[in-house]
Amino acid sequence: MTREMIRLDQVVKEFRRGGATVRAVDGVSLSVAQGEFVAVMGKSGSGKSTLLHLMSGLQQPSSGKVHLLGRDLSRLSDDELTLLRREQVGFVFQFFNLLPTLTALENVALPLLLARVKRSAAEARAREALATVGLSDREGHKPEELSGGQMQRVALARALVTDPPLLFADEPTGNLDSHSGEEVLLLLKQMQAERGQTIVMVTHDPKAAAYGDRLIRMQDGRVIDDQVTGEGA
């Protein structure tokens, strides 16, 4: 049996908007196994980003249970949750979220420094991560000196520097031209193949979703389709 990385049981997330209650996620149950590359697709407002936030513990569900790496998130304290995310989970966002005053190397080393790894060791690992994404020659560059595609690759290196078993990506190609987007997707595919990383990627773009080997489609907060698209499907 492959390990179950994520499990959602009847998860609901409601928001108050004005006077009304909106159900962003409406009773979703699913399970993600180790090594899967899952694409979650849907229009804006379908609940796909909220689902990602719930899966990764960035938000708490209104009802239902979320298990991440076998642990019930509702039973963790804030500190335990922070630690779990820092050690086990990497994030990539649409707008890169790099710190503008730090160099590429410093941005990538940051998660290690927050985990109290020594600076010299952190920088050595950050160098390795930058090499993995093909940016060894940009170590000293600040984000504003990089193209969008390069910034996203730095963000990917930062997500990978702790070698987390789980990677969450929210529209990672949403702000890139098609060529840079493909480079980022190829890197994700490479991480899955070489490190056995489990990847959950939210996207509205069917071309990006086609890099996954399972496609979950959402509409109005519900899963309307869950289809294996990988080899042998």
């Binding site: 190829l186 595919k189 069917p206 071309k207 979703a209 086609a210 890099y211 996954g212 080997d213 496609l215 389709d225 289809q227 698209t229 990988g230 080899e231 499907a233």
Partner: protein, 144 residues
């Protein structure tokens, strides 16, 4: 084979090719040689954009057209199953593209361009399915 000869005959008549004469004992075999006029026409042909768009020959157009009159619900179901087929196709084409990215050589560029064309066509079909669904739901007074 017959079609090749009728095309060659026409090109011969138009002066785009000429007979090079039979060589050796093999009298059955005709050899053609491209003429100056033929080369000029080839250059023009290479640079000319084809005027016809892709033919509308997908079976889904016919089936959907028939189902719309019969049963809106079944038309919507067909859209959904067609969507699943297209997502599978895109994943398959993408795997070919990933495989190709590992290769070097002159064939790669040509094949990448063909795969891009195939992927973008499937993407267009997916968008069209979304459009159809919106139209059908509006017609049926259903919510999106």
């Amino acid at each position: 084979m017959g079609q090749i000869y009728s095309t060659l005959d026409r090109m011969l008549k138009d002066g785009l090719v000429e007979l090079a004469g039979a060589e050796g004992a093999d009298e059955e075999r005709k050899t053609y040689r491209i003429t100056e006029a033929g080369l000029a026409e080839l250059e023009r042909w290479l640079a000319r954009p084809p005027l016809k768009a892709r033919p509308m020959r997908n079976e889904i157009y016919v089936r959907l057209g028939l189902l719309v009159e019969k049963d809106l619900r079944r038309a919507l179901d067909l859209l959904e199953s067609q969507r699943r087929v297209y997502h599978l196709q895109m994943a398959e084409l993408t795997r070919a593209k990933i495989q190709l990215a590992k290769e070097r050589g002159p064939e790669r560029l040509r094949q990448e361009m063909m795969l891009d064309a195939a992927l973008l066509h499937v993407e267009a079909e997916l968008k069209w399915l979304d459009n159809c669904e919106a139209r059908l739901r509006a017609r049926g007074g259903m919510e999106a």
